[in-house]
């Protein structure tokens, strides 16, 4: 459920009231009945969010402060920060490192490859419809199936990739998913395959709203293709690029499906969400699992805060100018 939902948050200015309708009709005509109707229409969604998102998060914090008996269901005691201490002295830092490495490398590759694909699709006039359908295929592939596909591609003896890569001098007879570094590169490759096309679609949509007369004017003034790309395409594409970058980053930090099926977190591919899940369900350590989930939540929130703090203003001004 990760790769599409977050785009929704891309609106730079959420609650901007629609300008029409406030003026002539005035405030009094619909005032109270309008508010009551709004409350009625919003309450199912808000109730769901409160019960199935907000309450569970708060409950996770409470769970993380307690210790639960593995043997006797229902037996628990307040443990303070014990679970957090266990997380910090256990797998947290390693998983955080892997998650950050995965995020930085895969998101960078996705931006570069996605941009290349978008530019090619933008130029290829006739084939664009066909290409758009083609690039939707990786996006539409169930992530669990993606993981199984890439695992079989790199499985020694079964897949074609190890032999092929060996021929060009990469890897030799290494078991790709069985060794640190190699396993991570397969994980990144699978993620790039699944999401670079998605990135390309977002950027293509951004390219399509750049007015063509800007390019014509630049051509008439004698700008080279590189100058046109550097001085026109990149700056005008920046809002779409930043939005895609932010939400891909937040997605990558939460990655779960791919490593869970591809490697089960072995060989240097343990990530935050997967570590929390394993402590919770396999080791039945509810307190520790909850503590790790809360920490994952904190990491994602911290990164979104940093993005909003340092690039968020940028997006707003850029999109404002565009309007």
């Amino acid at each position: 459920m990760t790769s599409i939902a977050p785009i929704a948050a891309a609106t730079p200015e959420p609650g901007r009231p629609s300008p029409s309708g406030t003026g002539a009709r005035g405030r009094s005509k619909f005032g109270r009945s309008e508010r009551r109707l709004a409350a009625m229409m919003l309450s199912p969604a808000m109730l769901l969010i409160a019960l199935v998102a907000a309450y569970p998060i708060a409950y996770a914090v409470w769970l993380s402060l307690n210790e639960y008996s593995v043997r006797v269901p229902g037996l628990q005691r307040f443990a303070g920060a014990d679970n957090y201490q266990a997380a910090f002295s256990g797998g947290f830092w390693g998983a955080l490192g892997n998650t950050l490495l995965f995020t930085v490398v895969s998101v960078s590759l996705e931006v570069v490859i996605g941009l290349g694909m978008a530019l090619a699709m933008h130029s290829a006039f006739r084939g664009r419809g066909m290409l758009r359908a083609v690039v939707l295929v990786p996006w539409a592939t169930i992530t669990a199936v993606t993981a199984i596909t890439w695992r079989s591609i790199f499985e020694p003896g079964l897949g074609f990739a190890p032999q092929l890569l060996d021929k060009v001098g990469i890897g030799g007879d290494v078991v790709w998913l069985g060794e640190r570094g190699y396993a991570m590169s397969v994980l990144i490759l699978a993620d790039v395959w699944k999401t670079a096309p998605f990135m390309a679609l977002l950027l293509l949509a951004g390219l399509q709203v750049i007015p063509s007369d800007v390019y014509e004017a630049a051509k008439v003034d004698g700008a080279t293709p590189w100058q046109r790309f550097r001085r026109i395409t990149i700056p005008l594409l920046m809002p779409a690029l930043l939005v895609a970058l932010i939400f891909r980053t937040l997605d990558a930090l939460r990655i779960f499906d791919l490593p869970a099926v591809l490697t089960d977190g072995t060989n240097g591919t343990q990530v935050l969400s997967l570590l929390a899940y394993q402590e919770l369900t396999q080791n039945r350590l509810i307190g520790l699992g909850a503590a790790l989930s809360v920490l994952t939540f904190a990491v994602v929130m911290l990164v979104s805060f940093l993005y909003i703090r340092f690039v968020g203003g940028n997006i707003n001004t850029l999109t404002e100018e565009e309007r």
């Binding site: 990760t2 785009i7 929704a8 948050a9 891309a10 609106t11 959420p14 009231p17 309708g21 309008e34 508010r35 109707l37 409350a39 229409m41 919003l42 199912p44 969604a45 998102a53 569970p56 409950y59 996770a60 290349g116 694909m117 130029s123 290829a124 006039f125 359908a133 083609v134 690039v135 996006w139 539409a140 592939t141 169930i142 992530t143 596909t149 890439w150 079989s152 079964l158 897949g159 074609f160 395959w193 977002l202 949509a205 951004g206 709203v209 063509s212 390019y215 014509e216 939005v243 779960f256 099926v261 935050l272 929390a276 899940y277 509810i286 790790l292 989930s293 809360v294 939540f297 994602v300």
Partner: protein
């Protein structure tokens, strides 16, 4: 598509203005036409191979059997449908298909109902704290699923929804995680419907609810289709809730079932069967993508471009 046509396409932007003259000038300044079209052609082939080859590989694997499976060859020398026959006889897999269909459909229908009410209020009605409420809704989409799944694992166990048959325990969490997207898409669609139509209905004596159900809702049908498709895809694909909140085939959905195909017998992974199962669950989605590609792209890019 021929090389010539892509070459022409690459300068199509210029054609918008003064066709022949501008094109001729840009040809002279930039790289030669044949080189440009060759490069573009290569890029297009590259994209198609990059996107589709893994899919070809899994189809290829699903048609192999026995010793062929461990050959690593790029085509099946004796193609067989044996894997498909055995996966369609697998009771657990059929149960998973059933559960996925129930979970994804129910989630989609509920999301459209709950989402369109909320979206209408956000798009059209005036009330305090609107920005805050929309902010709360949208922030849900950045939550890591594990931070919800972990406490729900405990909560669902306590109230008996854990491992509930037909995947019933998965509907609510899926619903909450697809609401932000639904509300966002529908809000932008509702905003584009002319206010005058609704006001005309009000003048004719309709209540606001009637104006919504009889006028706005039908006009927003394209937006509903877009949102419904994206929600259905998300619910069909959802994995973390599916493996955290279920444990038996009675409750498992397709992604979880596929993952556990391998989990139990890792060392003799029935690769042929898993591949066949993967192809079966992929087909409906690929068909939907081909039929509705424009709507899907419109939904995916709504947030990124419109702002």
């Amino acid at each position: 598509m021929t090389a010539g046509s892509t070459g022409r396409a690459s300068t199509a932007v210029a054609q918008a203005g003064e066709p022949s003259r501008v094109r001729a000038r840009s040809r002279r300044r930039s790289m030669p036409g044949w080189l440009r079209s060759t490069l573009l052609w290569a890029a297009v082939v590259g994209i198609v191979v990059f996107c589709l080859f893994p899919i070809y590989w899994i189809v290829n694997t699903s048609l192999k059997s026995g010793a062929q499976l461990s050959s690593g060859s790029l085509w099946p020398s004796h193609a067989t449908l044996g894997n498909y026959r055995s996966v369609l006889r697998d009771g657990d897999f059929l149960l998973a298909l059933r559960n996925s269909a129930i979970v994804a459909t129910t989630t989609t229908v509920l999301a459209m109902f709950v989402g369109s009410f909320a979206a209408y209020a956000l798009a059209r009605l005036r009330f305090p704290f609107k920005a805050l409420l929309l902010g709360i809704v949208l922030s849900i989409s950045t939550f890591p699923v594990i931070a919800i799944a972990a406490p729900l694992f405990k909560l669902w166990t306590d109230i008996g929804l854990y491992d509930a048959p037909y995947g019933l325990g998965l509907i609510l969490p899926n619903l909450v995680f697809t609401l932000p997207l639904t509300i966002f898409i529908l809000t932008s669609f509702f905003r584009e419907i002319p206010r005058e139509l609704e006001e005309a209905a009000l003048v004719d004596g309709a209540t606001r609810i009637q104006a919504f159900t009889k006028v706005v809702f039908p006009l927003a049908a394209p937006g509903l289709v877009t949102a419904a498709l994206l929600v259905f895809f998300a619910a069909w694909n959802e994995f973390l809730f599916a493996i955290t909140l279920t444990s038996t085939p009675q409750a498992r959905t397709v992604p979880a079932a596929i993952a556990f195909f391998t989990g139990s017998v890792k060392f003799e992974a029935p690769l042929g069967t898993i591949s066949a199962a993967s192809v079966i669950v992929m087909v409906p989605l690929v068909v939907l993508v081909l039929v509705f590609q424009k709507k899907i792209v419109a939904g995916l890019t709504a947030g990124a471009v419109k702002g």
